[in-house]
Amino acid sequence: MRRLILIAIPYLWLLALFLIPFLIVVKISLSDTALARPPYFPQLDLATGWQGFVDFLRELDFENFTFLTTDDLYWKAYLSSLKIALISTALTLLVGFPIAYAMARAPEEWRPTLMMLVILPFWTSFLIRVYSWMGILSQGGLLNSFLLWLGLISEPLTILNTDTAVYIGIVYTYLPFMILPVYAALEKLDGSLLEAAEDLGCSRTSAFWLITVPLSKQGVIAGCFLVFIPAMGEFVIPSLLGGSQTLMIGKVLYEEFFSNRDWPVASAVAVVLLLILIIPIVLFQRNEQKQRESEG
């Protein structure tokens, strides 16, 4: 009985906070838009009893999903999001791995401080941090003034409102999610393994590729998923730092909901996004499980 209660708690949690909201979104995505409040039709009225429920189900259709395939805006936005998420994940890895490596190699007494420095930005609001990047990247911003002062450029660069600014924003925001799992993997790495590799004839570089990289693989995979999944649906960064031509599905979703007030289409976009993301989430879970098994 106690076991049942223990298992029931997380399942009830998932049911209440994930499955039910998701089913509501699915329901809206199958409805039609209407000039009403809430702005879609049909409404489920439980007072009408069973017959009312059957009538309600009859009104639902996949029209909105078909619509998504007719307008090329949507699949272009999905592809563009995928591209931006993939590239920024790769960039975050490129920046994050050396930082995590340096942290793991730092003297033990420094590590808590370095860890603190990585976590510290979380203490300020995410929005404020993204806004401050607008100040840095704009035409008259800090970066341009600095480069002009150095004499490296003669005219200010246009960075803000381009894809570059979006990449900078995503890499900056999600960097800790990459550093922490990679650091955890590298920190566990026994230094004598590298000495053993060297003893058996490896150079420092080949020891890095043959020992350090494979043994930090799990951390790298975890970090990549932690960056890729939220970056895919990112909305704030492209709308603040990106330009009008920066197409991301999160932005499209926002516009459908709040500008067009077309809730059913917006819900359909959200459902498809979720289905796309389920693939990497399942892969991520499998990776985690494999890691637990190999350690057990």
């Binding site: 026994d190 000495e195 060297e198 058996l200 043994l215 350690e295």
Partner: protein
């Protein structure tokens, strides 16, 4: 045909494989190795023995190339290996933690060093199979290190470090992680493998029994210095200092003033007691402070007064029963406590002595070693 005793260190024509020449290693202010000269010969099983922090591991890591001497030179086959990085030395090391690569199978672990040499596939396969056979691991070749037992992991580490057929194999506390029974078995296995492969082994250990069992010669170290380098029996029977005598096995040390006539030595050790007698080849000044070191098993214990060179009476203070032997702590009227050992040839119920018995202890004049320091 009598077998020739393996003792290249006594042969002046023999060239040592490894030579330490005035080697000093400092870490900041701390001197880990203090001006050491040491020769190790080919095919030796050489043990570095000492308490933790005595510098034995540093000495070994200098041979592997992970540390460089602050002063002095290390020669391998007559060549200075100071500037040679670890990956280019004909030296391999078996790590205390084994340092097996967790993401590779046993087979790939053993093949790791061979692959780095760029040998062809068939040669690598043949060598790995040979190593698996030598260490009785063929059944586990496909497994990962976390899927085998501690004893098997130890053998994988050994196979991996031997695979490249190094001139010199370094073993850092190789049996430290094994339980006692397995450790004893593995000691003999190590000696067997050392003999079969003809590789020179240098082993670091803090376990004196292990060093005595496996080694052809033992170096006892303390605070970065070599206290004595000799065969296990010489270290035990003829220690050069009180430190070595005390570090290896159990010993009674009696301090006194020397009075020498030829090889005979009389030692005044306590007020109103007859002098103890011993023989020595060393020379002591009259009245010089000296230390008589005597092993407990060389002291006889009896109820009646025996005749002999050194006979003392005392009372049994404590008995340590170890099964095969018992150690008796005998308190002398002077306050000295002397340990005497006796084999338990009879069942315990028929033991002759018990607590607070008055007994006589005795030893011959050749049983003890007299040391100046």
């Amino acid at each position: 045909m009598p077998q020739t005793v393996f003792a290249p260190w006594d042969d002046p024509a023999e060239k040592p494989l490894i030579q330490f020449k005035g080697v000093t290693k400092r870490f900041g202010d701390f001197t880990a190795i203090d001006n050491i000269d040491l020769d190790i010969y080919a095919r030796e099983f050489f043990a570095l023995l000492g308490p933790s922090g005595c510098g034995k591991t540093t000495l070994m890591r200098m041979l592997a190339g992970f540390e460089t001497p602050t002063e002095g030179k290390i020669l391998l086959s007559g060549q200075d290996i100071g500037p040679v990085p670890p990956n280019q030395r004909a030296v391999n090391m078996m790590f205390q933690s084994y340092a097996l690569f967790p993401h590779l199978t046993i087979w790939d672990n053993i093949a790791f060093g061979l692959r780095r040499e760029g040998r062809d596939k068939a040669a690598i396969e043949a060598r790995v199979e040979e190593m698996l056979k030598l260490t009785r691991l063929a059944k586990f070749a496909k497994r990962k290190p976390h899927q085998i037992s501690g004893g098997q992991r130890q053998r994988v580490a050994l196979a991996r470090s031997l695979a490249k057929a190094p001139k010199l194999l370094l073993l850092d506390e190789p049996l430290g992680a094994l339980d006692r029974k397995l450790r004893e078995e593995t000691q003999f296995e190590l000696m067997d493998i050392q003999e079969k492969t003809g590789t020179t082994f240098v082993i670091v250990t803090h376990d004196q029994e292990e060093a005595m069992t496996v080694a052809s010669r033992v170096a006892v170290m303390d605070e970065g210095k070599l206290m004595q380098v000799s065969t296990p029996d010489a270290i035990y029977e003829a220690p050069s200092s009180v430190y070595v005598a005390d570090f290896i096995g159990d010993v009674n040390i009696i301090e006194g003033k020397a009075h020498q006539t030829g090889t005979k030595l009389q030692i005044d050790w306590a007020e109103g007691q007859p002098a103890l007698s011993a023989t020595t080849t060393k020379n002591f000044d009259l009245g010089q402070t000296c230390y008589m070191a005597i092993r407990p098993e060389k002291i006889a214990i009896s109820a009646d007064r025996p005749s002999g060179a050194n006979v003392l009476q005392g009372e049994i203070l404590d008995i340590a029963y170890l099964g095969n032997i018992s150690t008796y702590h005998v308190k002398l009227p002077t306050g000295h406590v002397i340990k005497a050992q006796q084999a338990n040839t009879r069942r315990i119920s028929r033991r002759e002595f018990t607590w607070e018995d008055k007994v006589w202890i005795s030893w011959t004049d050749t049983a003890a070693v007299v040391l100046a320091q």
